[in-house]
Symmetry: D2
Subunit: 297 residues, 4 copies
Amino acid sequence: MVGLGRMGSNMVRRLHRDGHTCVGYDVTEAAVAAIEAEGISGARTPQQLIDALAAPRNIWLMVPAALVDQTIATFAPLLDVGDTLIDGGNSWYRDDVDRSGPLKQRGIHFLDVGTSGGVFGLERGYCLMIGGDTAAVQRLAPIFDSLAPGFDAAPTRTLGREGEPDTAERGWLHCGESGAGHFVKMVHNGIEYGLMAAYAEGLNVLANANIGATDRLKDAETAPLTHPQYYQYELDLPAIAEVWRRGSVVASWLLDLTANALLADPKLEGFSGNVSDSGEGRWTVAAAIDEGVPMPV
Amino acid sequence: MVGLGRMGSNMVRRLHRDGHTCVGYDVTEAAVAAIEAEGISGARTPQQLIDALAAPRNIWLMVPAALVDQTIATFAPLLDVGDTLIDGGNSWYRDDVDRSGPLKQRGIHFLDVGTSGGVFGLERGYCLMIGGDTAAVQRLAPIFDSLAPGFDAAPTRTLGREGEPDTAERGWLHCGESGAGHFVKMVHNGIEYGLMAAYAEGLNVLANANIGATDRLKDAETAPLTHPQYYQYELDLPAIAEVWRRGSVVASWLLDLTANALLADPKLEGFSGNVSDSGEGRWTVAAAIDEGVPMPV
Amino acid sequence: MVGLGRMGSNMVRRLHRDGHTCVGYDVTEAAVAAIEAEGISGARTPQQLIDALAAPRNIWLMVPAALVDQTIATFAPLLDVGDTLIDGGNSWYRDDVDRSGPLKQRGIHFLDVGTSGGVFGLERGYCLMIGGDTAAVQRLAPIFDSLAPGFDAAPTRTLGREGEPDTAERGWLHCGESGAGHFVKMVHNGIEYGLMAAYAEGLNVLANANIGATDRLKDAETAPLTHPQYYQYELDLPAIAEVWRRGSVVASWLLDLTANALLADPKLEGFSGNVSDSGEGRWTVAAAIDEGVPMPV
Amino acid sequence: MVGLGRMGSNMVRRLHRDGHTCVGYDVTEAAVAAIEAEGISGARTPQQLIDALAAPRNIWLMVPAALVDQTIATFAPLLDVGDTLIDGGNSWYRDDVDRSGPLKQRGIHFLDVGTSGGVFGLERGYCLMIGGDTAAVQRLAPIFDSLAPGFDAAPTRTLGREGEPDTAERGWLHCGESGAGHFVKMVHNGIEYGLMAAYAEGLNVLANANIGATDRLKDAETAPLTHPQYYQYELDLPAIAEVWRRGSVVASWLLDLTANALLADPKLEGFSGNVSDSGEGRWTVAAAIDEGVPMPV
């Protein structure tokens, strides 16, 4: 595991718990020391990491998207034919398409793995969307099974599925050739942002349901609210989010998180209303434009 | 229970199972006979229904929105002071605001109950959003508890909640004065439609991820796809919906239903792409306009 | 003319210039004095206005939408059968539908006139969209012809039109029954807001065309701009608005106004970015929802 | 002039009329013969074109975007230091950024010219948005002046402008370095599509203003129209488009074209409702995404 930040360190912990032999490397000494304190092997240089693993090696990169290329440049020369590099970060899928060719020519397998689950992944497991060649995916199947949430993570079984659960039912999927993993992850995030917007807009209508009870500015330029008698509600948003979690059509994991947030901070005053653009939303819209499919949400 | 269609008949079944004494009425003889065959009392005229219940009575109307007013007109003259009328259909919340005043003047309680759960409600329970006066809500609490999914229906408990679960945690909520129940239900449906659109748009990007592999029409009027090499994926949508159900941020009940539908019909060819406008989406947008809050999704 | 604000006073001036006998009334003494100073008759009470006109009278109301009903309540009792009331303000068309019935019962004609042209109308003329009964429209045709911009106001004649110009070619139109004038004016404003948004969004893309030349915050959460080399332009927005006024497809009166504004204030720093909601945008979207037609713009 | 299609042939005609010495080349013999019949010199091979011009030459390419690169590849080897190549087609601005470097290294000037005016340009003139180096722009100023609509094409002069009109007031503008011309033209088209959508949506609301007069399907799934009495208008769209052309805020050249189309075909039945994607709309949205500016319209 290269990169022992929040994601990488928890993933190596989850693998270690499940009995896999792991070595963790990070440019920050404290991050390496932290996993060593938990009984997981650490490496202080790329070469140490390589030496600590028997070929064929599996090197999982869990570094910021902006650092993936230079990290590959560091490790690739140290690898042998048959080793596998895994890009587990938030890369643009096109970069993975471009990276795979040169590595393949040198006999190195390359996988791109989109990972969902975030800060809850250590306990819940990570949903894994994988692109790259089949042989490497198959060899790493036990790793993916340990990282993924497993069959029991879904509340019910999909109608028509029976027998031994396939990998999708266990929480990981080989989506296609190089880039396919991050393509599916990109769209996943695009959907996520649309879902969040839908909840936000609806909750905002509820939060303003008392607009008829308040005096709006009256001037010649502004048309009055036509029917103030229909906007007199003081609604309890934390309770509404809670009741929707049971039996309603809008129940979801995002709603569970929303209920947590609203109970702790009913007006969400601790939130800035601003979010960094990690790229997936922007890239999903760009893909929709390229494909010529509508994406108003 | 007035109206023994899909919703009303299953609700009366769920109440009967839980030990409540119920009488069902419908203009269709067969609908009444169906519940009688299951040991539930039936009535063949409004007066029979009234006579079969001891005062104070609770009359739950589960009829199409367009028929609520005439059904109230039929039953209201038969009711006594202290009886309660419940509008459980898909009414516009403003109609319930308007209905409550005249009934209140005659000493009749009036509740509006937005109900989510649809065809799955008999087994899963119904999420209930309620508007009207507190006394009537409290008297009907055992009924709401039987109809609602109950505490165990949510996968986890919201952080910070402890002790005896309140009604929101049991699946029903008194939202506020008359109309509040259908207002919250209206917004709930508005959110639902936004969620569905988000999934649909994202899945459509996945379904068209092979656009670079196909020849597009080439003419002087159409700009070519700039980078066809990045749109060469044949993605397995049923498997992707399945893998997202475990550990991913977009897991939800709607996604569970989507996975069911995609497994049975991977290209959704059995769907018409058209849906009747039951009003809630339209009304939610109108409310957002009245409140002056944004609602692009 | 009842209401001698910016709109009403200029309209009465334009009518007076064209030889019509006019009397102006306003609750503000100074407004009446101002037109009297220009040789136009003034009235200081509603009764004075009525007395100064020979029956059948034409009373044009040019007051804020919120004051139309009370102004009608003031004047209607003073009118005789055959008189005509004209609502020239920014009323919601539905209010005019509701107003017309009671006035018609009393033998009073009622017209609703949507008026476009704003502060430039005195010189350019006013585009008039009219609803109400045909007899009253025909009687007022000379008034409408004086207020409207006239045939020469358009740069070219529409292909296929020939002979004597009809009223539409002279700048006014009887659109239909009561409310039709304000309905068409409402949609006109809805279109206007869409046009303004289209220009604003495009100009904003031009204004930010140098985004690649500036350093964006670099952090692990934010995806970098993929191709900064393509965003290095410092564009001259006042000049671009100017060049588009000649021969381009986006030439329009709104663009002429935009060119004025950008030349005087190239970054539009004197504008607040906020506009009062006079209702038409909101009502147009509500009409689109009622009609079930799309209106994303 | 290389490329004597609809655009190129009319541009060479307009230049010829204004006294410029022109030579036209096209791969289609008939196109060359057509201009020769009007007294304009023709060339049948690239070399003939080159030989017919005295250095420093100006070669204007007016070919489909997909053919620009191969046309440049044909002509560039034939050019001398100091000659100028002009890309007047619908190129993506980024392609012009990429093309300029290699040509510059060989001492060849390169200009990109976005051209608006279409089929009306021969008579009205062309609005020209130009990118590239200043020396070449200055040398070609007489050409641009002949192609552009000229000062009188705008209905009024922008407030604050005085003295000798600059090039923007004459209808052409040097926007910036290579690509700037097509960047501005791209955004111009993005705005155009937004304007067209705004008109279309508004006219559609007018066209459906009689929805209350028709019977909608009544079923349990569909909410009824709440106030059919307010949707009883049969509006005359050709007349409305006509009246808006005079004095209204939405007057524009696109509205003039709309009035032409509606008069000839009031329900626009001769239009397919489909338009080829020439790229500019797509690219403008992509630019907005890259810049991080909103572009909902």
